[in-house]
């Protein structure tokens, strides 16, 4: 996770030599994002080219004669020089054509659009848990530096960086599903409720509410709570650690002393003044943590049989469905870049010092 901080922080810190206007800087940012996206495409393109599977053979079958083989090769554009093939690939992706999945025999983009809301639901629930618990924990740790809340946050962080997410998921299932029976098992809904709600957003909890089906809503929520908490734990570990270090920076400053001297209550000094001043960097942290949750969801989804993007990618991988794997990778990468960009933009717009 620190890598991402590094990357995000660097782009934020790279100031142009000449003071340039905000529009110009945003234009510069967009160009750099476009370059990164192009690089992303190049990486997936090259990965697709090293695959030991012959796409022509896959299309024509191994009984085809040489003539058919050559015609197919030409039709697929595989007889062109590599850079032209890359150009065609970029054009295809720009039109939203990510190829067809061998496994589902549907366009990859359609598949991804179908499974993405499940991942979005899981990651969003996790990040909400992370913010609600992580920010206060970090504040308490900074205020009580060296005492037990501080140690607690430290331990949370250490464990968060050391524990395999899929293992924690399995232990969670064992404990809360099998032994205590507090939550339902894997999946997004009980089989009984399956397909009763029309997918509108694809986010089951929202769909159920929109349809006015409270019973289904509670069922979907009960299925969501365990995987979201497991994933949210990693978010708590990260957000609380960052909050702690931001808060420590603020509490050292003179305006805090001034506020205290003026007789302001300690609660107001901490929760209003200090926390108010770290809100902007915190938003960046939350956006980045959201991006890493996408990654964590690959493993979590496998454990909880959650039909999201992560499970889609791994299932396609195991059946060597390269179009689906690369399409999914591309979407995750693009969302990742998008979130980085968003956090960068938010930082520039919200922080008056960066706006200048």
């Amino acid at each position: 996770m620190t890598d991402i901080i590094k990357a995000g922080g660097d782009t934020a810190a790279r100031r142009p030599r000449r003071p340039a206007g905000l529009p110009r800087r945003i234009a510069g940012l967009l160009v750099s994002v476009a370059m990164t996206l192009l690089g992303l495409l190049l990486v997936t393109f090259l990965i697709g080219r090293v695959v030991p599977i012959d796409p022509v053979l896959a299309a024509v079958g191994d009984r085809a004669n040489a003539e058919t083989y050559e015609r197919m090769r030409h039709e697929l554009g595989l007889d062109l020089p590599l850079w032209q093939q890359f150009g065609l690939y970029v054009a295809d992706v720009a039109r939203g054509d990510l190829g067809t999945s061998v496994l589902t025999s549907r366009p990859v983009l359609e598949d991804v659009a179908r499974v993405f809301p499940a991942t979005l639901e899981l990651a969003t629930a996790a990040v909400i848990i992370g913010v609600i618990l992580g920010v206060p924990a970090g504040v308490m740790a900074a205020v009580n530096r060296g005492r037990w809340p501080d140690h607690l946050v430290r331990v949370l962080g250490l464990v968060g960086y050391s524990v395999p997410v899929f293992w924690l998921g399995l232990v969670g299932l064992l404990l809360f599903y099998a032994k205590l029976d507090w939550v339902p098992g894997p999946g997004r809904l009980d089989v009984f409720y399956d397909g009763l709600v029309d997918p509108m957003t694809g986010i089951l909890t929202v769909d159920a509410l929109l349809a006015g089906e409270t019973e289904i809503f509670w069922n979907a929520l009960s299925h969501l709570i365990l995987p979201a908490s497991i994933l949210g734990y990693f978010s708590i570990a990260y957000i609380s650690r960052m909050t702690r270090s931001f808060m420590l920076d603020q509490l050292r400053q003179e305006y805090i002393t001034t506020a205290r001297v003026k007789g302001m209550s300690e609660a107001r000094v901490i929760w209003r003044h200090a926390l108010g001043n770290i809100a902007v960097p915190l938003i960046t942290v939350v956006a980045l943590s959201y991006a890493t949750l996408l990654e964590g969801s690959v493993l979590t989804e496998t454990v909880f049989a959650w039909p999201g993007l992560g499970q889609y990618i791994t299932n396609s991988l195991l059946s060597a469905d390269m179009n689906a794997v690369l399409g999914g990778t591309l979407v995750v990468g693009a969302v990742f870049i998008g979130l980085n960009l968003l956090s960068d933009l938010l930082y520039r717009v919200l922080d008056p010092r960066a706006r200048r």
Binding site: I47, P164, E295, M322, V325, L326, F336
Partner: protein, 295 residues
Amino acid sequence: MREWLLTDTPGSRTQARLGRLYGGWLAFARNRLAMVGLGIIVLLILMALLAPLIATHSPYDQDLANRLQPPSGAHWFGTDQFGRDIYSRIVHGSRLTLYIVLLVAVTAPVVGLLIGTVSGYLGGWTDIVLMRITDIFLAFPKLILALAFVAALGPGIGNAIIAIAITSWPPYARIARAETMTIRNSDFISAVRLQGASPVRIILGHVIPLCTSSLIVRVTLDMAGIILTAAGLGFLGLGAQPPLPEWGAMISTGRQYLLEQWWVATLPGLAIFVVSLGFNLLGDGLRDVLDPKNG
């Protein structure tokens, strides 16, 4: 001995060097958590070296009459679906874990170091191009990129190592570049340059040695991440293949027996957790000693 090491007036270069190492060790040893981490890693290495002696059974021998036995005196951690002793498999699995970590740790930082120092020292277009490439790799979530590479190369422990190494070098390149930028304009570099040293000589002989300590810290801190990624790939069935006793793959096979035979899936995970924790504690301690400015 202690006095000889800590003297203020060392008689030789070796004595001074050893003295400094000893001073660093004393600072490190004061950190109790770091010592715990070091202890865990030393135990892991011993376990890997002495695996055949420590293990009570063969990690591969099947005993179908005794499948899925709970932990007992005969099988300390129970047996798996083929009646193999889980304790012995975990012990032998430590070799695979060390193998993966070491291979990644000797390849990725070297690549990152070279790219970072060249980029930082030469500057200009070289810098722009190399850093753009680095940024592209950083823009991908690591696990997803590793997944895509494994998909292209085919599952297996060797390909998993390659995929992890390919996804791990960019942060090292960034660190090495930043360090290089701070030292490239210092007087001693100018002095070496005036003596006629080529850029290759300056980078290899004068820049790289100064970047290594912060890189070592970073590598130690990353080892836990490498272990977790490797275990994740193993869990998804893309890393080490059966019957290799890789911890992540063991969790994956134990999954289907989770609710009835909890020990099959949970105990290898505990091993991953303890080892990652050890590397994290060790890395934290090393950072405080070697790289105080980032502590």
